[in-house]
Amino acid sequence: MKDEIKTSVSIIGGSGYGGGELLRLLLGHPNVEIKQVTSRSRVGEYVYQTHPNLRKRTQLKFSDPSQLEPADVLFLAQPHGQAQKNIEAYAKLAPRIIDLAADFRLRDADFYEKWYGEKHAAPEWLNKFVYGLPELRREEISKAGYISGVGCNATASNLALLPLVKAGLIDLSSPVFIEIKVGSSEGGAEGNSGSLHAERANVIRTFSAFGHRHTAEVIQEMGVEDVSLTMTAVDLVRGVLATAHAKVKQGVATKDLWKAYRAVANENPFIRVVKEQRGIYRVPEPKILSGSNYADLGFELDERSGHIVAMCAIDNLMKGASGTAVQGMNLTMGWDETTGLEFMGLHPI
């Protein structure tokens, strides 16, 4: 693609971890040019002073949000709650908007209020957005102007369940329990007393047994009503591992599961099945996914009881946030959905 026809993109709220990851991806994307990156608190500073991995790759400086100019694509990487207050103004600046926060993930205003404990500021916009996980809504995203973000824990959960739900193998009359281990970058760049090194290092802490907000995305997208997500912080910076416990329908065997998982992997460039019989990496692990947009899926079935353990590992900042956002941009722009997302991760790491 020639320089003069590159697509202009801007990022609102570029100083957080999600914004930094977006910058890293977009700077390497062959079809786009970053026009502006805003940060209310860091106006005038070079972006590499906040995101040091970008040094020598860009001389961009953070802009004042009030100076935002029109662009072809606008990424919203602000804290939750900001986008819904300003969406009318943003929509005047760009024909395509991709929000990374939770403002437009849910389609129903009452459902939003139930899970977020407050009324939505722009309920009329909820149905203008498409849920942004391509593995679930590729066709809709490719035709959409407004694409929502995805919750990192929700993404790991939804993808862990996807082959089972899509093939109709899961017994939805039984509850689904999803244990989720999460790294510290999920907490964002603002920090709190719990993110102090002395408190966070070496941690294995179940900080949310029930009721995490991302549960709503699993109910909405998977159609599974009786589902619980339990969150445990572990000593990682990046990474999510979702381990779902469910029952399969009577008569479902391992061979049926292989067919279902193989079908999902064949349809989705970033889905891999990890169920090895040899070596160290026999099941999905977030460790080797740092910086990559892959989601690794695995499963084990107790054929005697019908109890299935379905696993999904992702990098929360990539498949769980910015990587999926760029994948959504690729789809809505009509580009190959893997463009700019080819990094395959590191080993050892």
Binding site: K255, Q277, R278
Partner: protein
């Protein structure tokens, strides 16, 4: 070239030319070891594999 069905995951597994009975091949999908038990017609069965156990 002969094709067999993996007894573990039902993937289609191609046997390379010259494969002989008694050889161990690996399923490209699920990674199990398969012992070739016949070539005309081609047939395989699961071969024993070492299991991982860190619980002891």
């Amino acid at each position: 070239m002969s094709t067999v069905v993996c007894p573990e995951c039902e993937a289609q597994v191609e046997l390379a030319a010259g494969t002989e009975a008694g050889e161990i091949i690996v399923c490209p999908d699920c990674g199990v070891d398969l012992e070739v038990t016949g070539v005309e017609p081609a047939a395989v069965q699961l071969a024993p594999m070492e299991q991982e156990d860190w619980g002891e």
